[in-house]
């Protein structure tokens, strides 16, 4: 469909697209919102986890007798107490797909594979007693040679951490004829880009409370992105799926770090063992080693290009550090491979990507999920190639950007609009006049980065989502859906959708969410999918209710159902708005006639098979989001210090549900992306994390944030409700390469490894000077 068509599908919205006060805002603003950590129960025990302080070792001795004997200690558990228990770590949440057989030990049986791997669980009357007991446990670890670099791990004879050769996943994408493509090129540009580990660093570390209810159901209140881990946890502790219930709460940040199971298994085991309520809260140090981080990657890009700016071939080789356990590495790597060429038309393509196990912290989901590492590389490479042929980087992009209807790397044609070019132009223009050069050692530079990022889960996972919508006799609306709300307003957007469809105002809608046994299962809040999937389910459910109400209204007003409008809590005849009544009145009439005032709807994403294993051709995702980010920096060429002066995001979000929430995602994405580009660094020494606190792991603070401008385009072409796409991940994806390109523009040399620290800039400049470049 053309761009004009999509704009003209414009509807008159009364709720959608506005910056309405989110349903979760008042509680958060006043501090009244209870988070998972705020729940307590009478007779509750407090748990702690004892962790290994080596990354590669054999457990020789674990003596818990002193801890067990301590007064106030209810239980101390080790692997000996649950010899055949394991937990699945791949494919979070609901899908019928067979798992990858990545089940792993819950507590160390014999082999320690990463620093911080849990050895024992302690539950006691108070947190202090639990802590004291933890210190009484005697541990003897015998170091065994580990491997801490994925390239080393690939070498023959390297210590084996997973499988037989440490290769956790391989993905290939082959298209066209790269040999011919490179032969047709005037210039071939080859570079290797290094992207770092990254920690989610949510405000709220992992926490939960478990108890056994009156029906013998093990119930866990926990901060999570995925309540549907109830199945994996039930399997792990050997109870039927319907006897394990996970309830969420408003979550203090997820970013992918609460996508895997964290405290749930420990809580379930301890509650099962003690038959008492148990609370477990990770400290910040626990949290650093308690969930998988972002994969560090090394991405080698070789691009063939003609002098007039046409990409003729691209070869991409990727090595990702999977850390000690598999978790979501195969999927993260697939996103990286699929997105390797970015939002560009590359007819001759070869991608070879491997995820490799090491004794570093295991890596898993993080906002952008492999797509962001690819973006960090392809967008820097686009600037390097443009430089090599002496073409303006924007012009070079314009020549190669995908347009609506073009196929991506896998041959799949995204069904929605591709407005990248518009976003690039608008973001660049919005930078305005460059900041005046202050002179001295300060240089000003600008960079642009475009991107492609999927929304919705991998289509071979056969994703579905359910929501229930009902309208009460006073005209208020209830939505029930399992969706977890991780701070982006997931629940509130369902309310806004139901309000729009049923013609009520937002404060009249209440959402019950995030309960694996009591709310219809909605799938994960991951993969920028919550709005797309659950939003559609809520819309379908609300529409069904609306249709029934409208039929009755039509009869009452002696009009056609199509002429019935509902907005601002009234029902009316569109062409004759004098004929109207409160929706509450209509609902009462419907109730007295026995009209069904609620609906449970399911929404199904497209279902496909896996990609062709040799060529990577096929459909991987439902659809993709596109946009661009522009950055202006000042760099001190003597010290290497970077100040981000301007940051402009331009995204086609399809359709805003809540404009302020979209802007919030963009602001957060900028903060997250700046940290990734400039300062966040997880340093390991023989697998031991040596930056496990916020004084060493440096996220941008309020004082580091530039002003952020958001240009929000609405193509209304997305697969989400009202044509929406996703913005949770996309908001971050292009930020880091835009920063990298701005720095390179400012100083004339490129730092190929992130984070681009002052010292790395200083070194790059020194090396350039030594080469006599400048």
């Amino acid at each position: 469909m053309s761009d004009v068509d999509t704009i003209q599908r414009n509807l008159r919205f009364s709720q959608i697209g506005k910056s309405l006060t989110r349903t979760d805002s008042p509680g958060k603003a006043t501090g009244r919102t209870p988070y998972a950590g705020d729940y307590v129960m009478p007779g509750m025990l407090h748990a702690k986890v004892l962790r290994a302080d080596l990354a590669s070792a054999r457990l020789k001795r674990l003596d818990v007798s002193k801890a067990r004997a301590m007064p106030g200690v209810a239980c101390v558990l080790t692997a000996q107490d649950m010899p055949d228990r394991a937990i699945a770590t791949d494919i979070p949440g609901q899908t019928g797909r067979a798992r990858l057989k990545t089940d792993q030990q819950i507590l160390v049986k014999e082999r320690v594979r990463y620093f911080g791997e849990p050895l024992a669980l302690i539950a006691a009357e108070t947190a202090d007693i639990a802590e004291k007991a933890r210190r009484l446990i005697e541990v003897e670890l015998e170091p065994i040679p580990g491997v801490y670099d994925p390239e080393e791990a690939l070498k023959p004879g390297a210590p084996v951490v997973q499988g037989t050769d440490n290769v956790v996943a391989t993905h290939k994408i082959r298209k066209g004829d790269t040999e011919a493509g490179f032969a047709a090129a005037d210039v071939v540009v080859e570079n290797t880009y290094i992207t770092p580990f990254q920690e989610h660093a949510f405000l709220e570390p992992e926490v939960g409370l478990a108890w056994i209810d009156e029906n013998e159901v093990i119930t866990i209140r926990v901060c999570t992105q995925v309540i549907e881990h109830f199945r994996a946890v039930a399997d792990a502790i050997g109870v039927p799926h319907n006897k394990l219930r996970i309830m969420g709460a408003l979550v203090g940040g997820g970013f992918g770090g609460k996508e895997d199971v964290t405290v749930e298994t420990y809580l379930a085991i301890l509650a099962q063992k003690t038959r008492r309520p148990v609370r477990l809260e990770f400290s910040r140090e626990d949290s650093f080693v308690g969930h998988g981080n972002r994969h560090a990657m090394k991405l080698k890009y070789r691009t063939g290009v003609t002098r007039d700016g046409k990409i003729t071939a691209l070869d991409v080789q990727v090595i990702a550090d999977a850390g000690a356990y598999v978790y979501l590495s195969p999927y993260v790597l697939l996103y990286c491979a699929v997105n390797a060429p970015g939002p560009y038309r590359v007819d001759n393509l070869n991608v070879f990507a491997r995820a490799v196990a090491t004794n570093n912290m295991f890596t898993s989901a993080f906002r952008g999920f492999g797509g962001i590492q690819a973006a960090a590389a392809y967008e820097q490479q686009m600037d390097e190639v443009a430089n090599a042929i002496g073409m303006d980087p924007l012009e070079f992009r314009r020549q190669n950007l995908l347009q609506t209807g073009d196929p991506i790397s896998t041959g799949f044609v995204p069904p929605s609009a591709i407005w990248t070019e518009k976003c690039v132009e608008l973001a660049w223009q919005a930078l305005g006049e460059p900041a005046p050069a202050p002179g001295g050692s300060i240089r000003i530079g600008r960079g642009i980065a475009a991107f492609q990022q999927s929304y919705g889960r991998l289509t071979f996972l056969h994703d579905t989502s359910e929501a229930w919508v009902g309208i009460e006799m006073d005209g208020t609306v209830t939505v029930r859906s399992g969706v977890t709300d991780i701070g982006a307003g997931q629940a509130s957007s369902l309310a806004q959708i139901a309000a729009e469809v049923l013609g009520v105002t937002l404060p009249n809608v209440n959402v019950y969410n995030s309960d694996s046994q009591m709310t219809p299962l909605a799938g994960t809040t991951t993969a920028s999918r919550a709005l797309y999937m659950t939003g559609n389910a809520a819309r379908l459910a609300a529409q069904a209710v609306r249709d029934r109400l409208a039929e009755v209204a039509a009869e009452l007003f002696k009009a056609e159902p199509a002429q019935i409008g509902m907005e601002f809590n009234r029902v009316l005849v569109i062409d004759d708005p004098e004929r109207s009544m409160p929706i509450a009145e209509l609902v009462r009439v419907c109730a007295s006639r026995g009209v069904h005032r609620s609906e449970l709807a399911i929404f199904r994403a497209p279902f496909t098979d896996v990609l062709d294993p040799e060529t990577g051709q096929g459909q991987a995702h439902p659809d993709y989001a596109y946009g661009a980010h522009a950055i202006e920096v000042a760099v001190d060429t003597e010290t290497g210090e970077v100040t981000v002066l301007k940051s402009v995001a331009a995204h086609d979000v399809g359709q805003c549900i809540n404009r302020a929430a979209v802007e919030g995602q963009i602001h957060g994405g900028v903060q997250n992306g700046l940290g990734y580009a400039l300062s966040e660094e997880m340093l390991y020494k023989e697998g031991r994390l040596i930056t496990p606190s916020f004084s060493e792991y440096l996220m941008p603070t309020a004082m580091d944030m530039p002003p952020v401008a958001s240009i929000i385009l609405e193509s209304r072409s997305g697969l989400g409700p009202f044509g929406s796409k996703g913005i949770g991940e996309p908001s971050m994806t292009p930020v880091a390469p835009a920063v990298a390109n701005a720095i390179a523009d400012a100083i004339g040399v490129r730092v190929f490894e992130m984070p681009i620290t002052p010292e790395r800039i200083w070194r790059a400049l020194q090396e350039a000077r030594a080469r006599g470049c400048r």
Binding site: A127, D128, E131, K132, E638, T639, E641, T643, L678, S679, E681, L683, I690, T691, S693, F694, S695, E696, L698, M699, P700, T701, A702, M703, D704, T757, P758, E759, W762, R763
Partner: protein, 287 residues
Amino acid sequence: MYAEFDLTIPADLPEALTALAAAGTRAVPLSGGTNVLVDIRSQRIAPDRLLDLGRVHQLREITVDRGRVTLGARTTVGDLLASGEVTRYAPALTEAARVFAGQMVRNAATVAGNVACGSPAADLVPPLLVLDAELTLSSVRGSRTLALCDFYTGYKSDQRAPDELITAISWPIPATGSFGSFYKLARRKGDAITVVGVAVSLALGGGCCGGVRIALGSVAPTPLRVSKAEAVLEGQPPTPERIAEAARAAAEECSPIDDVRATGAYRRHMVGVLVARLLTNAIQAGN
């Protein structure tokens, strides 16, 4: 946080000193707590007793008297920023306060805590060093004053006896025409541990530099003055060559190490860059 300790909350200074004397070596003074609580939580220290100075309000005054500026030991970093006297008589200290931590920590962190914590990265110390600051140490035995530049004896060790409290920090009002400044090089702008801190102070008279002070943070076991570098400029006209030589001398005099924030090589190089830069700015401001 799991920790066990006794807590004494004296109502005034004499009570504090008596309590400290009675506790022998086992008590740790607690001021803003922005180091102490962090250290307890991370198990770097495990004090038997904390002596909370939070009610000793008389230690929170800033006075200017008989040619000296005196800060009570409980003056917070926030207080520094609010004080006209400090802005006037110690611009380098104001600059350090401005880039110190973030607002929440500035509200609690005290000057004496920063001096006493002994961190090589304590940001207020280089500016106080270039001001020729003196500490007043008090105990039940009486009070003594000590030049700040003589206070540190090594990494996190100093001249304070276990029964002593720092009660005041003071410096002479700088001569007219003198100019001081501070620069913090760090990995981010807020709440960052300094990678290299540099403070300078000098006065120009008759075309020559006088009272040249150069102090560095985060590049040695303690914050330190680099006297050889100072001597290069003292009494000399500030030519670009001499400034470069002073910068070189400063870089040689420090002994930076590699850590998670930066390598020693980078730090040493930055000492040269920043000393030259701050000296040049000071001289320009003086002209």
